[in-house]
Amino acid sequence: MSLRQAEEAADPFTPVAEIPRYGAPRAGIDPDTSKSWLRRAMPVVKAHKLSFFLALGLSFAGLVLQVQIPNLLNKAIDTAIVAHRAPLSFYVYWILALGVVGGLAGYGSRLAIYKTAYNIEFDLRNIIYEHLSQMSFSFYDRVQSGQLISRANSDIRSVQMYMTFAPLILVQCSIAFVAFAFMLAISVPLAIVAMVTMPAVYLLSVKMRKSMFPVSWLIQARLADVATIVDENVSGVRVVKSFAAEDQQLKALARAATRLQWSYVKDADLRARFTPAVQNLSQIGLVLVLVFGGYMVIHGHLGLGAILAFNAYLLMMQVPFTMLGMLIMMSQRAAASADRIYEILDERSEIVDRPGAVDLVDCRGELRFEGVGFSYPGGERPRVLEGFDLTVAAGERVAIVGRTGSGKSTVARLLTRFYDVDEGAVRIDGHDVRDLTVRSLRANVGVVLDEPFLFSVSIRDNIAYGRPTASLEEVRRAARAANAEEFIEQLPEGYDTVVGERGYTLSGGQRQRIAIARALLVNPPVLILDDATSAIDVHVEQKIHEALSHLMQARTTLVVAHRLSTISLADRVVLLEGGRIVADGTHARLLESNPLYAEVLARSSAEESREHETRTA
């Protein structure tokens, strides 16, 4: 698909400049929460059933072929070498042929199983990402991104590993039965004697994994302790040096390192207890084969080749038996991981298009809040807005001023439908925002956030974030209007400089101007500006001020204001208190007539920075 096609395929409100090189996930997770985790995941496995069953079939076939080889050796020795009843070459050719075909089958099965595994992983990752991208803000308020990332990382892995490798391990274990059958066919009593130690191998390996688990977590936790001390001494180096605390910190590290040392010794002791036993128990089986097999050979009940064949079979079986223990651990982890993944996938977005929602087109930008009541979702939260009324004419610039918790920022969030009102309505050009498609609403309402977030892509792509198909000339124009062109061109790679790469960090003022350019490029008829709170250098402030006045031209603008300079850009100021508007007018008039306004103004910048801290904490 060409770029143009990709753009055409998208609706006019959804900017798409990415050409997908890979197909969409083939299936989703079964939404029926009453089913078991494995059954819910089945659609995804079924979508790849061809390669999955191919893998299992080939694996089984390959193993069946390989199981023949020790038996062939047994017969070759007994019939061709000891008894001279058959030509040796017959067996040699068979072994070579089985070896080659078995190897090819092994290759095919591994390839198919890995392919299945990685395809399932691909599907799961994309399913989760797609789901996350549709979630509303109330969801992101509740969860931490660190948790989401760890779910998306290790949990997907453990589910995918179990779903694909568990069957493969089972196939390998089933081969143990075939091998055991061959052993029984050669000699029933010897087969039983040889197998005596196998259950112990299995039990020990299960026990080993169980007792190793806590210690490996302990090691990880203590490694993290050491890393924390190092991290603090790197980022807090000035405090450490200025208080001459090097010795104290060295002792703290030595203590942590000693604790870590102890846990490693503990780990070694546990491994010392189990590893030699697990590895040598099968050797005991071989000793038993030698002594009992020897006895049977001497009494003529058994050929010499059997001793060789039994050796080979026992060696073959050791691996599946230890893996069986692994399988149990894997299934426990996978179940827990799947639960955590489903927890995300079972979340539903609260902000969705109503049936029959219409697109907002030719937006003039007249805003009206009618008796809006709102409290943030999640239990008994206090009312943030209560009976909030505000009308903003098309093209008007209104600053919202208020104390911490007065609901200033909330007003903006309701307009873009980051949340929905509990009571009343928010209207744009007379339409209730809930009757509009979310996409068209957001395409018409631009937001500049107080803490400008830049992505680690080029400056150009950051500016063109809302319209990725914009030409470089358009990007430049936006940057120029935002007073950002000058510093961008001074960067080593200009517009192609990747944010955050090779230490190209941008100052807060620079980031803010890029965010403003980003909004300018989209050119929305309605703009919300969440004014930055941090103190800014006077020169920089001047530049941002200029950029903002460009930005506010010819569009309806709602400013959540903290700084005097920003307020001065607005035509009208409204003062928010107790969830509603208590004063409305020009800055000069309010300053004169309203003592609360003056007080809030002096305090708001200070308090807003704290509000932000608690909000993001």
Binding site: P15, L96, L111, V234, A244, I298
Partner: protein
């Protein structure tokens, strides 16, 4: 970024080292508790920090690290030899049992029994030797790793401030974490495995040659080159492929993490669909990388197995023919088959271990680089201790630049009298903070001298200088630990009374009373549980408890609520009493209160004088004051002051 953006901020380092562990999952807690019940009380560390250690431990190398534990090392080597010998006796004993106990004419249950008994004994000895070896090498590795951690960390502490830039923070973290951890696997298991497998191959080859030279020659020549070549190919190919996988997963997680962090921007720009397609491409790239490793593993695993079977076929053809022509015993042929199976594994393992070894060596080289880095600001040999000072600070013709060719400050001549409060003001990048860093000797001047009570800072020991200095950074940095530990940071041995005094002096009692466990409350995640005003008070208490003669204070730029600001002002008044103080002021309201104001502009001292004097002079300060007052007046009018 505000005034003094280049100041003493301690911005948290993003992604430093990566600390993925949020804690131990509940289902494992019981097991961990049981483990911990066994943990003895470790003795207090005896390591002491020396800026200039008298004797170095020499160049870092694997050998030197191991030799530090000679007894464990000798024991490990001995045990490895025992293991290699005993673990390979089985097939040879089987041959004896067959040739002398099972063949027609030589039937003897006694021989079989004795051989089996010897086999059993060998298995037991080998298992016991392995057990002891795992314990020994485990202890050896744990000890070496501890030494190495302490050694690298101590060196890190010696390095000067210019080494700790934000860009290098990640590198430093990975030296101390992943680079050292890379050695763990090698020391604990890798070297031992290397030796065991290598010896095993030698032992097997020797036994094969003893049994039959011709067949041994054929076997070894047939298997060894092919398998070695295959393994080498696998190692190179898989290393390259896994690098792509690592890059791939890093890309996937970075994309995800950014989408989550920037969710507000994503949503408000309707970028979800674009991003879903982009993520699909990123995940697809990762899948392609994975599929490439799949190709390699699918060839190597079954391939070596196939090689084993082909070897068996060849052995059957050649060896069987020799038995038929009576030039080889049947027992020896069976033993050859048994050894063949055991021959394949060591080669594969050796190749695996070689990877670990290479990674370990790469880490050693990186660590060596760090350990050989000299501090750019160092003590002179046998530096004198700075006697207790009054606190007179003198700059004499000081020139300094982080890059020697680009001076940041020059021609600085200034004397700060004992107990005087001096405020440095000036625009961002003028050099205010740099001057402060010269007082604390984070850097040395390129020309000129900085003196304290007439002592050149370069001639005195770091500890004696810094114990008489107190520094309050712009962004207070809190260490993981309790509030008490954070306050007593400079003097961990401080008594409770002294601690209380410090808390009271800066007005922190209220805050501490509100905390769930008072002074013992654990501060989380760089102090996020305390507000920024409270963190600043804590940093002031920390400085107060240090009883410094000279205080260097970088004023915070973040906005505080009025109550906090008032509290901090009061605390400062107490803290500055009777001390020489250097204030890097970002607000003129703070600077106004100083005894003298030093205006720094373009790296030079532009004006010096009291607030009134400078206003009267009508220079730069007066102009700055003019700009600032516009806003300040509106605010103070609003606040009703």
């Amino acid at each position: 970024m505000a005034w003094g953006g280049g100041g003493m901020g301690f911005a948290p380092v993003r992604g430093a080292g990566g600390l993925p562990f949020g804690g131990i999952p509940s289902e494992l807690q019981e097991g961990v508790d049981r483990l911990l019940a066994d943990e003895p009380v470790h003795p207090e560390p005896t390591e002491t920090f020396e800026q200039r250690p008298a004797t170095g431990p020499g160049r870092l190398s694997l050998g030197r690290l191991l030799v530090a534990y000679p007894r464990l090392l000798v024991a490990a080597v001995g045990l490895i030899v025992v293991m290699a010998l005993t673990s390979q006796a089985g097939p040879y004993l089987t041959e004896i049992a067959i040739n002398h106990g099972m063949l027609p004419g030589h039937r003897s249950l006694l021989v079989v029994g004795v051989a089996a008994g010897a086999y059993l004994a060998c298995v037991l000895v080998s298992a016991l030797a392995q057990r002891a070896q795992v314990r020994t090498t485990g202890r050896l590795a744990a000890g070496v790793m501890k030494d190495l951690r302490i050694r690298v960390f101590a060196h890190l502490q010696r390095l000067s401030l210019d080494f700790f830039t934000e860009e290098k923070a990640g590198v430093l973290m990975s030296r101390m974490t992943s680079d050292i951890e890379n050695l763990q696997q090698l020391l604990q298991d890798g070297l031992a495995q290397f030796a065991v497998q290598g010896l095993t191959m030698i032992v097997i080859t020797a036994v094969l040659f003893v049994m039959d030279v011709r067949l041994a020659l054929i076997t070894v020549l047939l298997i060894l080159p092919v398998l070695s070549a295959a393994s080498l190919w696998f190692r190179v190919a898989s290393e390259r492929a896994y690098q792509k996988v690592r890059d791939g997963i890093a890309g996937v997680l970075a994309d995800l993490s950014e989408s989550l962090q920037g969710v507000r921007v994503v949503t408000s720009h309707n970028r979800q669909r674009h991003n879903v397609l982009h993520h699909r491409n990123v995940v697809g790239t990762y899948r392609d990388a994975n599929n490439q490793t799949a190709q390699i593993s699918a060839v190597y695993g079954p391939g070596t197995q196939m090689l084993g079977y082909l070897g068996q076929g060849a052995l059957l053809a050649i060896g069987g023919d020799m038995v038929l022509h009576h030039s080889l015993s049947i027992g020896a042929l069976i033993a050859f088959f048994l050894y063949l199976n055991r021959f394949l594994q060591p080669i594969q393992l050796l190749v695996q271990q070689y990877n670990t070894y290479q990674q370990g060596q790469a880490s050693i080289i990186k660590l060596r680089g760090l350990l050989e880095t000299e501090p750019s600001v160092d003590e002179v040999p046998a530096a004198d201790a700075l006697p207790p000072v009054e606190g007179r600070i003198t700059f004499e013709g000081v020139v300094f630049g982080y890059d020697p060719t680009v001076p940041v400050v020059s021609d600085i001549d200034l004397t700060i009298e004992p107990a005087e409060t001096v405020a440095f003001v000036g625009p961002t990048g003028a050099g205010k903070s740099t001057l402060a860093k010269l007082i604390t000797r984070f850097y040395d001047p390129l020309a000129g001298r900085v003196l304290i009570d007439g002592h050149d800072l370069r001639k005195v020991s770091f500890a004696s200088l810094r114990r008489q200095l107190g520094v309050v950074p712009q962004e207070p940095f809190l260490f993981a630990g309790t509030v008490r530990e954070n306050i007593a940071f400079a003097r961990p041995q401080a008594s409770r009374a002294e601690l209380d005094e410090a808390v009271r002096a800066v007005g922190l009692e209220e805050v501490i009373a509100r905390l769930p466990e008072g002074l013992e409350t654990v501060v989380h995640e760089r102090g996020q549980s305390l507000s920024s005003g409270e963190r600043q008070l804590l940093a002031l208490a920390r400085a107060f408890l240090a009883h410094p003669r000279v205080l260097v204070l970088d004023e915070a730029t973040s906005n505080l609520d009025l109550a906090s600001e008032t509290r901090i002002e009061k605390a400062l008044d107490i803290l500055l009493q009777g001390r020489t103080a250097v204030l890097i002021a970002h607000r003129l309201s703070t600077a106004m209160k100083a005894d003298r104001i030093v205006v720094v502009a373009e790296g030079r001292i532009a004006e010096v004088g009291s607030h009134a004097e400078l206003l009267a002079a009508g220079g730069r300060y007066a102009a700055m004051y003019e700009t600032w007052i516009t806003q300040a007046e509106a605010e103070s009018a609003g606040a009703g002051r």
